[in-house]
Symmetry: C2
């Protein structure tokens, strides 16, 4: 009997984890490598950033998820290098793993389009630490306003700018609007938190560009009802500790603010560059790997790239960096490997992303959903949003806890996870 | 009409918060100052440190708790100085508050008995950040063992030492035993987490010294069943990054370990020293303020010190630094102030702590409880422990969430909040 082939999957996000789970029955050794010990349900990360959920509600330990899957082991580590010729992977701790098949799915982080100095003032939202840091900044701004005697400075402290009108930016803005108008009502004595100004800057002509225009319009109206000002065609030109500058209709404007949140662009994980250096594969402008139609890379049919790390073009359009696309890619790769190793039925030679729709929620009881050519909005879309998000949470315990927490938040308009934690807690801002 | 008197309470723990809540109806201005924006239910902090609960489950925003209490405002800040003559308080941000009555209840932190260098290697458990840091160290040790090829070093990595056999040390040791034997079962491929060694070092002749001897014995047996080795009469003499030394029966022993947790001693908050410098009040060896029988300080009948910051002697014994004592002191001070300001019935001139009992839980379904001369143990004590801890959680939402999370953990023997988060996540240990 020949030894079983070794499949290494790097990244335990939607793509990597779904690939691993679909390989449970295969006569192969599967190793899942991740820097973190948990899978993170990123679509709900904005709820952690706004105090609605706890980090552990949307995270699940990878070892717990995969403990019954005897052919699979989990390694906590960071990949530093790849040697495609000897089929080896090198981790930051100096260890080396050899593979027969390699699946790379390390995702993406924020992209400041060359202005890396902005990151300090405008954190993005990709990790648990990002979320608790944003939560700290949001809540600390209200605390500072309570202590500020000068009414002008007080208003400056509770002016929030969100850059980027995609789903994350829209959901974040709506949640901050709810915090200001509902959650923090009666919490302060020296100002009314409802006076907070929330400004959403979008570079394109409308927010939620991937949705139908009437849904963008509905989302905008819903945001405005929560006190959010939506400014389209606004390009950020500078971010400093106390202001944001942007160009709009050929004029440069400046907003005084000490709290800017970044939801504008993503940059693929540095593993893409490592792979490009090693194999000569091309990257797109965001650092994503240009994969072949079966998600392998040219000249290396045993290396696959999926999820936000891959640039997949389908019918002339890029497959979006969303969770369903990553899950489908993970399932597809598992089929490819099952065919190659286990002799099961060959999958199509081209990965096909089936867009089952996208949705965004804006505060209590309202969401917009685009399902093919069908546009949904309002309460029905919100219920659909709730149902789908709960369904796709990986662990059953998380589903229960999220339902209980949401039920409570809905009934009381409270957000009980609004803790200011972390290093800078007692530091002056 | 004369202006209303101003009561400042420093510290939103059990003592300070209960004092504030009992002053709701008083014609006075109440200001509660805390460094953190939440009240923390410290008795369950060890459950956050061991991945059983999320931080927000045991914390409640102070503003949310007090929002309906119109005479009370919350200030996020740290007291730097007190001027008793002008009745003023100075905060770290430079602001100044004048008071008519001052209630100090800033609690305690760890005491390394002059060996402050130990803190780095042996963190204590007082804050949310302490708890997530301990959680990180515990879980990272198992992760490192999975990657360690040398079986000797592997065993060294999963050897844990807990210093101090009071309730915190006992509960922490039991929870780590459960993690090793139950939670992490089947989670690793290269070693069995049940091989973890957990050593509890106690300086006295028995653990849980404030309980009846037979309860100490039962607790020890229960710990041993969870794989914990209890070593009494063991005095720690040194802690370094890779070992703990201790004296026991006139011999010095050394345990190789990279994970030491400190539950041995407390040191009152530095505010005690500030008060002593200003008013000449005496401090005990742990830095606690020697208060008069009504919790005021000699020569200043408008300054009160309570909770873990105060040294209260009753019938020749110190009132213990436990939550019920702090709550009772908070309620007592509220009565004193209501009498002085609101002309209500005078309370007794001496604060009397009524010991309603103490309890500690050791893993699933077992606890010990000392209620006066009644000793309880086993399942009944555990149910009492559960009920009392849930009852005293401040916010109703926390009660629901803790019940749900505990129910889930009990049924599945899982701990879903075992996330490795924080700064050093990807750093080599």
């Amino acid at each position: 009997m020949s030894p079983q082939p070794h499949i290494i999957i790097v990244g335990g996000g939607f793509a990597g984890l779904y690939a691993a789970q679909n390989l449970a029955e295969l006569p192969a050794i599967v190793t899942l490598i991740d820097r973190r010990n948990f899978h993170l349900f990123q679509p709900l990360l904005y709820q952690v950033a706004t105090g609605g959920l706890s980090p552990a509600n949307i995270a699940a330990p990878l070892r717990a998820i995969l403990k019954q899957q005897k052919n699979t082991s989990v390694v906590l580590g960071e990949v530093n290098n790849i040697d495609a010729r000897s089929q080896s992977l090198f981790l930051a701790d100096g260890s080396c793993y050899s593979y027969d098949y390699l699946v790379l799915a390390t995702g993406a982080s924020h992209n400041y389009f060359g202005n890396d100095s902005w990151e300090r003032y405008a954190p993005g939202l990709k990790t648990i630490e990002d979320a608790t840091e944003i939560r700290r900044r949001l809540l600390s701004a209200f605390e500072a306003a309570e202590l500020e005697p000068d009414p002008i400075k007080q208003r400056d402290l509770i002016r929030f700018v969100i850059v980027g009108g995609g789903a994350t930016g829209v959901e974040l803005s709506g949640a901050i609007g709810e915090i200001a108008h509902q959650t923090l009502k009666d919490n302060f004595r020296n100002f009314d938190p409802a006076e907070a100004e929330i400004i959403l800057l979008e570079g394109g002509t409308r927010i939620l560009e991937s949705f139908a225009p009437q849904l963008s319009e509905k989302a905008k109206l819903a945001l405005e009802r929560l006190g959010v000002t939506v400014l389209e065609s606004s390009f950020v030109t500078d971010i400093q500790s106390d202001y944001v500058s942007f160009r709009r209709a050929d004029k440069t404007e400046r907003i005084i603010t000490s709290c800017v949140l970044w939801a504008a662009g993503v940059q693929a994980s540095p593993l893409g560059r490592i792979l490009a250096r090693e194999t000569g594969v091309s990257l797109d402008r965001a650092g994503r790997v240009m994969v072949a139609s079966d998600l392998s890379i040219p000249g290396h049919d045993n290396i696959f790239v999926l999820g936000d790390l891959a640039c997949v073009v389908q019918a002339g359009k890029q497959v979006p960096g969303v969770a369903p696309a990553a899950m489908q890619a993970g399932a597809y790769i598992a089929k490819v490997l099952k065919h190659r190793i286990g002799n099961s039925r060959p999958p199509p030679s081209t990965f096909y992303y089936r867009d089952r729709g996208s949705m965004a929620t804006i505060g209590r009881s309202l969401a917009v959903a685009q399902i093919g050519r069908l546009s949904l909005s309002g309460f029905i879309a919100w219920i659909a949003w709730l149902f789908i998000h709960i369904m796709f949470l990986v662990e059953f315990s998380n589903r229960i806890l999220v339902v209980v927490q949401w039920g409570w938040n809905y009934l009381t308009r409270n957000r009980t996870a609004r803790l200011i934690t972390g290093e800078n807690t007692t530091e002056k801002r």
